[in-house]
């Protein structure tokens, strides 16, 4: 019996990295995470998050990420690490619900995240911008964040240099 259990365990152990790789490809999970043994197969995570307040009929308002209130900072940090590690598997609901409860004048909240990755074909860096949008009334519209949101302290598409500080990982691998 113990031998059978050990065999099943080893089968799962052997198959897991294949599943983890699928999660990386399909859901943008960080290859370094979830024990898929893909550490040092790609550069470390280079992702930057912004928080944008949405009001119907008004310009979206970028929250100053340098001075989030402590309670927001804690939630944003949690979401950021989860989003970096789990990609599309990370839920924004808790952060969005808290922000909307704190700001009754907001109609929605957008959480754009920009990823700088190394493209295997061109061997050059490229930018991917994906935005998660949560509306108070539950509508499914996605607000398309402009890349300029990240220009101040983020990636600079098409330029050879620029002051940047992507969100850092909470710990080393």
């Amino acid at each position: 019996m113990k031998r059978r259990v050990a065999c099943v365990f080893l089968l799962l152990f052997a198959a897991w990295p294949a599943l983890q790789h699928t999660l990386v490809r399909v859901y943008d999970v960080d290859p370094w995470r979830l024990c898929g043994w893909a550490m040092y197969s790609v550069p470390g995570s280079m992702k930057t998050l912004r928080v944008v307040a949405l009001r119907d009929g008004a310009e979206p308002q970028l929250l100053n990420h340098e001075v989030y209130p402590p309670e927001v900072e804690r939630l944003v940090t949690t979401y950021r690490w989860r989003k970096q590690a789990l990609g599309e598997l990370a839920s924004a609901d808790r952060l969005a619900e808290t922000l909307l409860a704190m700001h009754t004048d907001w109609d929605g909240v957008a959480l754009p995240m920009v990823t700088l990755a190394l493209d295997p074909e061109s061997a050059r860096t490229h930018v991917v911008l994906a935005t998660t949008t949560v509306w108070r009334d539950g509508r499914n519209d996605t607000w398309e964040a402009p890349l300029s949101l990240f220009m101040e302290r983020g990636v600079r598409p098409g330029r050879a240099s620029g002051p940047v500080a992507p969100d850092r990982n909470p710990r080393t691998r």
Binding site: A6, A38, S41, T77, V155, P157, P170
Partner: protein, 295 residues
């Protein structure tokens, strides 16, 4: 297939397993002490005292593992390890996940008799699979065939990467890579027209796959294990993944006669203590800590 990792006829893995059990508990204690000394920056992070209390319990378990109550020590420590993994998820370090599974196996199976044989074979299979998958993942992610990942690390990684691998590149290529902007879209290409550079990059992933496979065949096992030990130790030159090495080297040594693990046990425990001392402020950060200042 489980028996593919069996040792020579008449081999008793008990001595090696006893030493490995101590080392796994020591690995966990070191990790928890490290988090107590240098707290994580997780938003939901716990007070240092919680990590310190868990570290004390693991240290006690480690001491207990020197006695005949080693399995009970693992059973006692397992829920704490699970709670630590759950707390750190999803940024759980891979070596910590591996250490949890190894600890769980030690809690489940005794190191003596048939249990010991099954435990030894299972742990050896895990070692082989981690090695093979580490190589395959590098190939699957496609950044090793022309040295792209290595070029990136030489350009933007800690200076040690440039020192260790810089010799494989012509000076002008090294200079070009190191002037590329890390955060500019379209920067690159992160490739270098240098045969030694491309060979080194590909040798890493091919070596991991072949050495892992070599451990499964008894005639090549010794050389594969020695090659893997050299590779794991060589990897420490640049990334300084001491915690990974402190778990993985003993797992590789499990393929050799158990007396090796028993003899080297004091050395591994000493390195654990040195890592913690350095993390607490003792000299040696350049050798024992990553560029981030963490273990």
């Amino acid at each position: 297939m489980l028996d593919w990792t069996a040792g020579p006829p008449g081999e008793s893995p008990e001595v090696g397993l006893r030493a490995l059990r101590v080392l796994v508990l020591a690995h966990w204690a070191t990790q928890l002490w490290a988090w107590a000394i240098q707290p994580l920056t997780l938003s939901s992070d716990l007070p240092r005292s919680v990590y310190a209390a868990a570290a004390v319990l693991f240290t006690a378990s480690c001491v207990m593992a020197f006695t005949e109550r080693g399995r009970q020590a693992c059973l006692f420590a397992l829920p704490i390890a699970f709670a630590a993994c759950a707390h750190v998820f999803p940024v759980l370090p891979n070596h910590t996940g591996l250490a949890f599974l190894v600890l769980a196996l030690f809690a489940w199976l005794d190191v003596r008799g048939e249990d010991g044989q099954l435990l030894s074979r299972t742990l050896r299979w895990m070692t082989v699979l981690v090695f093979i998958w580490a190589g395959l993942q590098k190939a699957l992610n496609g950044l090793y065939f022309q040295g792209e990942f290595l070029a990136w690390m030489v350009a933007h990684g800690p200076a040690l990467w440039g020192h260790v691998f810089g010799w494989t590149l012509p000076a002008e290529e090294l200079a070009r890579l190191q002037t590329l902007s890390r955060f500019a879209s379209g920067a690159g290409p992160y490739r270098a027209a240098s045969l030694p550079f491309v060979l080194v990059a590909n040798a890493v992933w091919i070596g991991e796959v072949l050495l892992g496979l070599g451990m499964l065949w008894r005639p090549t096992r010794l050389w594969a294990v020695l090659g893997a030990l050299v590779l794991v130790c060589a990897i420490q030159l640049a990334p300084r993944e001491w915690m990974f090495a402190l778990l993985f080297v003993p797992l590789l040594l499990l393929f050799l006669p158990g007396v090796w693990l028993r003899r080297l046990l004091p050395l591994f425990l000493a390195i654990d203590a040195i890592l913690l001392a350095v993390l607490a402020g003792a000299p040696g950060a350049a050798v024992f800590l990553k560029a981030s200042g963490r273990l």
